[in-house]
């Protein structure tokens, strides 16, 4: 736990700079949606109905509580018409996700973990989180790869 004070320092720094980030577009949606492109700020995302989800993850210990919007609510907001969403991360990680996932499960676009806002130096600002503890079939590497963190854009097909 040697690095803990430094992490806290980092978090404090980010929290102070958060209002700046909150008004900047963090998520872009393209493809089969209403309009050509939708750019959403953290505030836009926070304006969506917020949900809590407590689940284990493959990269953290324990069962953190995530807060965020439901992915299906987001797609409904932009009137997405398609079967597949291609998710891109900040580092150009690309993953195709069937839209049915968002209807079959309460998949969250998490904005905070254990009350702390997610940030780009961790897995934020948006991390796709599946309710893996509630559904045994989600405890599978094929779903683990869909947990895209540092999500920056979605393309609906």
């Amino acid at each position: 736990m040697k690095q803990a004070p430094r992490l806290w320092a980092c978090a404090v720094v980010l929290l102070t700079s958060w209002p700046v980030l909150a008004d900047m577009p963090v998520l872009t949606i393209t493809g089969a949606i209403d309009g050509d492109e939708a750019s959403l700020t953290v505030n836009d995302l926070r304006a969506l109905p917020q949900h809590q989800l407590t689940t284990s993850t493959t990269v953290t210990d324990g069962t953190p509580e995530f807060t965020g919007f439901l992915m299906r609510d987001l797609l409904a907001t932009v009137q997405a018409q398609g079967d597949t969403v291609v998710a891109y991360a900040m580092n150009d990680y690309r993953m195709e996700i069937p839209v049915s996932d968002f209807h079959d499960f309460d998949v969250l676009g998490a904005l905070s973990m254990d009350g702390m806002p997610l940030n780009p130096r961790d897995k934020g600002p948006v991390w796709i989180v599946y309710p893996r503890d509630n559904h045994r079939e989600l405890q599978d590497i094929r779903f683990d790869t869909r947990w895209v963190w540092q999500l920056v854009s979605l393309h609906v097909e």
Partner: protein
């Protein structure tokens, strides 16, 4: 529950006793195999944390991207900030939960923490972008790169070691499962065998039950037979007895007027009746002995021609008007048999022949040898035997419908009533059984309307000894 009920239950459970150990082996093996398979199934899920090499490689790539961003000629501050954040996020990921434990295991956690600290010391968010900061970040990137490379190397080696060990464990488990399933299979075979054996036992018991039932049925038949026997025999005794009775009455009524010829005639009738009674009693005694296995043939060499001759002579006395012929093939023909029983058989065949043929026809007797057998054939010119009666001719109490009906004695009124066991349906049956008792048999040929030949076959005497006559 009664004592007996309890015992029956106990017996029933006892039947299953041999099953228990095999059943335990069978179920135990199956449960073991199932548990092992289930553990294997759970273990075979791939967890993302196990993909540590990918995480380390991503970190390495981000460090490289940051180094390139700060090292280039046209530097973009926003891009550098983003690259910095990404690199830091990967470092943070490596220092989190499962990843941190993994790195600690291979002794690299400290190195990653130091890397993260030296990176944070050059945070553009705090220090602001400047050529100096960019130069320092470039130098740091070049310094971090080989270190991360070493970590990736160690992670790869460890992953392969772990994978190989895991596969070894899978193979060992698989072997155990195969052994357990084999055990279960063998146990199943054993159970099948025990089941089959029990079924065979049941089958055998059922057969025994059936046999017992058959025996009971036979027993009933035999007692029914004896009832018939008693009825028939007593009926057959009545006729000669009443003949004797009426003759005596007649003589008594005649009183002094009895002449020598009257006495002669009555004496003949009474003698005849006594003869019939004697033969009837003889037959009954023989049958009784035969049925109780008390009849033992006393074997001796028999000069057949002499025996047949004496029987024929005797019959000729009783039937002075019948024509009888005896022919013998050359010399002495010697059979092996019991003198008394053979005499009884031939008497029966001869009296039947006399009885069931017209009074003016001849009865012929032939004695001859054939192979290892000696035969005595009795030929009559009677009515023959109906085809439907022939298969039953040697059955006790058999009563034919028409024709010769030797066994039934329906036409006994016509004859002189001298047949042994005449009309009882016993004479031929007894003769046949007596022949078999001596290793011989009786055969017959018959031509309806023309006559019949009944032949007694006996084994020939091998050596010539003393002849009985």
């Amino acid at each position: 529950m009664t004592d007996m009920g309890a015992r029956t239950m106990q017996n029933q459970w006892a039947q299953y006793a041999p099953f228990l150990p095999v059943l335990l082996v069978f179920l135990g093996s199956l449960v073991f195999a199932l548990a092992k398979s289930s553990a294997l199934e759970r273990d075979m899920r791939i967890a993302a944390t196990q993909n540590m090499l990918w995480v380390v490689t991503q970190t390495q790539m981000e460090v490289l991207a940051l180094t390139l961003a700060v090292g280039g000629p046209d530097r973009d501050d926003a891009q550098i900030s983003q690259r910095f954040d990404l690199t830091l996020s990967r470092m943070n990921l490596l220092m989190e939960g499962p990843q941190a434990r993994y790195l600690e295991d291979i002794g690299h956690l400290g190195a990653v923490q130091d890397m993260s600290a030296s990176l944070l010391a050059l945070d553009p968010l705090e220090m602001g972008h400047s050529p100096d900061l960019h130069a320092a970040l470039f130098a740091l990137g070049q310094d971090l790169h080989p270190q991360i490379n070493r970590i990736a190397n160690d992670v790869m080696t460890r992953d392969w070691d772990k994978s190989a060990a895991r596969l070894d464990a899978y193979r060992a488990t698989q072997r155990l499962i195969i052994i357990a399933v084999s055990c279960a299979f063998l146990a199943a075979l054993a159970i099948s065998w025990v089941l089959l054996r029990n079924q065979r036992r049941l089958h055998r018991t059922a057969l025994e039950h059936m046999r017992a039932a058959n025996l009971l049925e036979q027993e009933r038949d035999v007692s029914a037979m004896y009832r018939d026997f008693a009825a028939i025999v007593s009926h057959q005794m009545r006729t000669p007895l009443s003949l004797i009775d009426s003759s005596m009455h007649r003589l008594a009524r005649m009183g002094d007027k009895v002449g020598a010829s009257d006495v002669d005639e009555r004496r003949r009738i009474v003698g005849d009746a006594v003869g019939r009674l004697t033969r009837l009693v003889d037959t009954v005694l023989l049958l009784a002995k035969l049925d109780n296995d008390q009849l033992k043939a006393r074997f001796m060499p028999l000069a057949m021609d002499q025996i047949v001759q004496s029987i024929m002579d005797e019959a000729q006395l009783r039937h002075p008007h019948r024509m009888m012929r005896l022919s013998c093939s050359d010399g002495a023909i010697v059979a092996r048999g019991d003198r008394h029983l053979v005499g009884h058989i031939i008497e029966n065949l001869l009296s039947n022949a006399l009885k069931y043929s017209p009074a003016d026809s001849a009865v012929e007797l032939r004695v001859f040898a054939q192979g290892n057998d000696v035969a005595c054939a009795v030929t009559d010119q009677g009515h023959g035997i109906a085809a439907q009666d022939q298969p039953y001719l040697f059955n006790r109490y058999f009563r034919g419908a028409e024709g010769d009906t030797r066994q039934t004695g329906q036409r006994s009124g016509q004859g002189t009533g001298q047949g042994t066991g005449q009309g009882t349906g016993l004479g031929l049956a007894l003769a046949h059984e007596l022949a078999q008792l001596q290793g011989g048999r009786i055969s017959f040929e018959t031509w309806p309307g023309k006559g019949s030949v009944f032949t007694l076959w006996l084994p020939a005497m091998k050596k010539r000894g003393e002849y009985a006559s």
